[in-house]
């Protein structure tokens, strides 16, 4: 099992090639393989094409630059073929002269020709003095050939043009033999052309409207669905790289599929693709779920402790104050009025009535705090009591194991029911889901009923339809179910050592999600086409 690094190759802009004078004078033919994926151009005397580029034109949007209050519209230059360095950024501004495998947009084709002739360095005045060999699709409509000829002859003044089909040229050039069946896999179409005695049988040729374009889109969408986390990292250019470098054609598809079903074969042949990633900075949470829960409990405990201490302090303060006031009061009762008035002044109290009021206030406050403290103590003891409450016992006719299993099944059934209800609610909330569409279908059918023949409501079952289309609560989580669930969990906690608390389960799921998010590998099973 090997890991494949994505190269993300960027194209290098084409240079302007040298244009030898001998070519100009001897009218060397120019070969242009004008495909809907790539265009390849070269002189007929050389072995390899000089230019290979994607047949694409990128027209960037106009930039508006505000300068000294006046708006200046800057039109960035049109990029063609290998000039487009970042094709993903330009994906939505791309244009092509092709519609499927046929050239239909001749203004774009003209821009492509300009690009070609400029990069070849042609500098003849008002003409391209070379015969042109141009490939076209199989059975090109006359209308298209006419426009292409018009463009070449009138705009570029070429001396002559020869049209041909790339796959038939290839058959000839590679000397397959006199008889054969051409299967030409193109970008938009696949052609099947029989050849007998070096003559193609056009009446038996067929075109399947399926090609690399469709494969790339299929693979792109498939991988995005498989790895929703990496949707933005899975780009068309990367898929092209994968398809061109790592995909192969199976000679016996069904047999290969059977092989892939075996784990050993899968492990041996699976290809892992490494998406580019940034190593995350120092991991923020190294704590496990249990540690987190422990920490939370610890915090809560400390908080209650602090509260209790504060309450005790307040109680002590209040009692202190009470003592002092009682002492003042005693002064009054003992008849030492002078001293009493002096102490009243010291404590900012106006007269006897206020002192009495304050006294009763402090007393009630102390009473309240005492009550709260005893209440807290009793609840904590209550919790402990609850914990040591006797374990629920199984019914007489069942062993504990059977009973626990039964309970487990019941519990899972309830949880599943709850989950499916939640799922349904979510689905109905979204448009374009099967559930929402089904609902709309029922509603439209209800509305469509003829006025005269409407016998809705004759049968009691008719009314059930409202349950089906109700968005809110076709059936909601019933109180009884919740109670049952709590009861079951209680039983399981007592009898099943494997039982995990629901809260722990949830946090575990969050953990696994984190792992999958941080994981930088993604597996690539296999490529298939329907």
């Amino acid at each position: 099992m090997n890991v494949i690094e994505l190269k993300d190759n960027k194209p290098t802009p084409d240079i302007i090639h040298e244009y030898p004078d001998t070519f100009k004078s001897s009218q060397v033919p120019l070969v242009i393989d004008n495909g809907s994926y790539q265009c390849r151009v070269g002189w007929s005397v050389s072995q390899k094409p000089l230019l290979i580029f994607r047949n694409l034109i990128a027209k960037p949007r106009k930039d508006r630059i505000k300068k000294d209050g006046a708006e200046i519209v800057v039109t960035p230059p049109i990029q063609i073929g290998n000039d487009i360095l970042n094709i993903e950024a330009m994906r939505f501004q791309l244009k092509t002269q092709f519609d499927k495998n046929v050239v239909t947009h001749y203004q774009n084709q003209e821009q492509i020709f300009d690009y070609i002739f400029t990069r070849l360095g042609i500098n003849a005045d008002a003409c391209v003095p070379h015969p042109v060999v141009l490939t076209e699709c199989y059975v090109n409509p006359n209308y298209c050939r006419q426009l292409m000829s018009e463009l070449l002859f009138e705009c570029y003044d070429v001396p002559s043009v020869c049209y041909g089909v790339d796959s038939i040229y290839s058959f000839q050039h590679n000397q397959i033999g006199v008889n054969g069946l051409i299967i030409s896999c193109g970008y938009h179409t696949t052609h099947i052309i029989p050849v007998l005695n070096n003559v193609q049988i056009a009446s038996k040729a067929r075109r399947i409207n399926l090609g690399g374009f469709h494969m790339i889109n299929f693979l792109h969408r498939l991988l995005q669905l498989k790895y929703p986390v990496h949707v933005n990292a899975i780009t068309i250019s990367r898929i092209e790289e994968l398809l061109h470098n790592y995909c192969s054609i199976s000679f016996d598809y069904m047999a290969d599929l059977k092989k892939w079903a075996f784990l050993e074969f899968y492990e041996e042949n699976v290809k892992k693709i490494q998406l580019p990633y940034n190593t995350p900075a120092t991991s923020t949470s190294t704590l496990t779920a249990e540690q987190k829960i422990e920490k939370k409990k610890e915090l809560a405990r400390r908080l209650t402790e602090i509260n209790a201490r504060k309450r005790e302090e307040r109680l002590a303060d209040d009692e202190d104050q009470l003592q002092r006031m009682l002492a003042i009061r005693e002064l009054l009762e003992e008849g030492e009025i002078d001293e009493f008035n002096a102490t009243l002044k010291e404590n900012d109290i106006a007269n006897v009535e206020e002192l009495d009021k304050l006294l009763s206030n402090v007393k009630s406050r102390i009473e309240r705090t005492r009550q709260k403290m005893t209440a807290n103590e009793s609840t904590s003891t209550a919790i402990i009591e609850e914990k040591i409450a006797p374990a629920p016992l199984p019914p007489a006719d069942m062993s504990v194991e059977e009973w626990v299993n039964q309970i487990k099944l019941n519990r899972n059934a309830i949880i599943e029911r709850k989950q499916s209800r939640r799922q349904r609610r979510q689905d109905l909330a979204k448009r374009r889901t099967a559930a929402a569409q089904e609902r709309m279908r029922i509603i439209s059918q209800l509305a469509r009923k003829e006025k005269g023949s409407d016998n809705f409501g004759m049968r009691d079952e008719d009314w059930d339809i409202y349950k089906a289309i109700s968005k809110e609560n076709g059936d909601s989580d019933s109180e009884m179910e919740n109670e049952k669930l709590i009861e079951y969990e209680d039983i399981l906690r007592h009898h099943d050592p494997m039982f995990e608390e629901p809260a722990v389960v949830v946090s575990g799921a969050a953990e696994s999600h984190q792992v999958s998010e941080n994981s930088t590998f993604f597996f690539f099973d296999k490529y298939y086409l329907k």
Binding site: H105, P141, C155, K430
Partner: protein, 114 residues
């Protein structure tokens, strides 16, 4: 050496289709071109772009798992997804609705009518 300029020397500028300020020419789409082509009086055995289209297949479409691409023995009645074995069924069950809809659309089976 020739540098890229708006009007290359090898062109007849009077006949270019991209004159500045000229009205945008609307090009026929392939569909329109083919429709016009069909209207012409063709002989019986003429070979045109439209005539080499393949006929529809007589064989029933094979079923492949939406999850792995393996041969699909089963179909989930709820989501209509094809799957290969129990393990994949667990995956199917766990998929959210937008993903199942995506798989169906990818297979071309998302039409409500069909």
């Amino acid at each position: 050496m020739q540098t890229e300029t708006p009007a290359p020397v090898f062109k007849k500028s009077s006949l270019t289709q991209q004159q500045p300020g000229a009205k945008k020419r609307l090009w026929k789409s392939l569909k329109q071109i083919l429709a016009t082509e069909r209207l012409l009086p063709w002989p019986e055995d003429a070979i045109t772009y439209s005539s080499i289209n393949p006929p529809p297949s007589f064989r029933p479409a094979k079923k492949y798992s939406d999850i792995s691409g393996l041969i699909a023995f089963y179909t989930d009645p709820q989501t209509k997804l094809h799957y290969h074995n129990a393990e994949e069924f667990a995956t199917v069950k766990s998929l959210p609705m937008d993903l199942t809809a995506g798989y169906l659309a990818l297979r071309g089976a998302s039409s409500i009518v069909g």
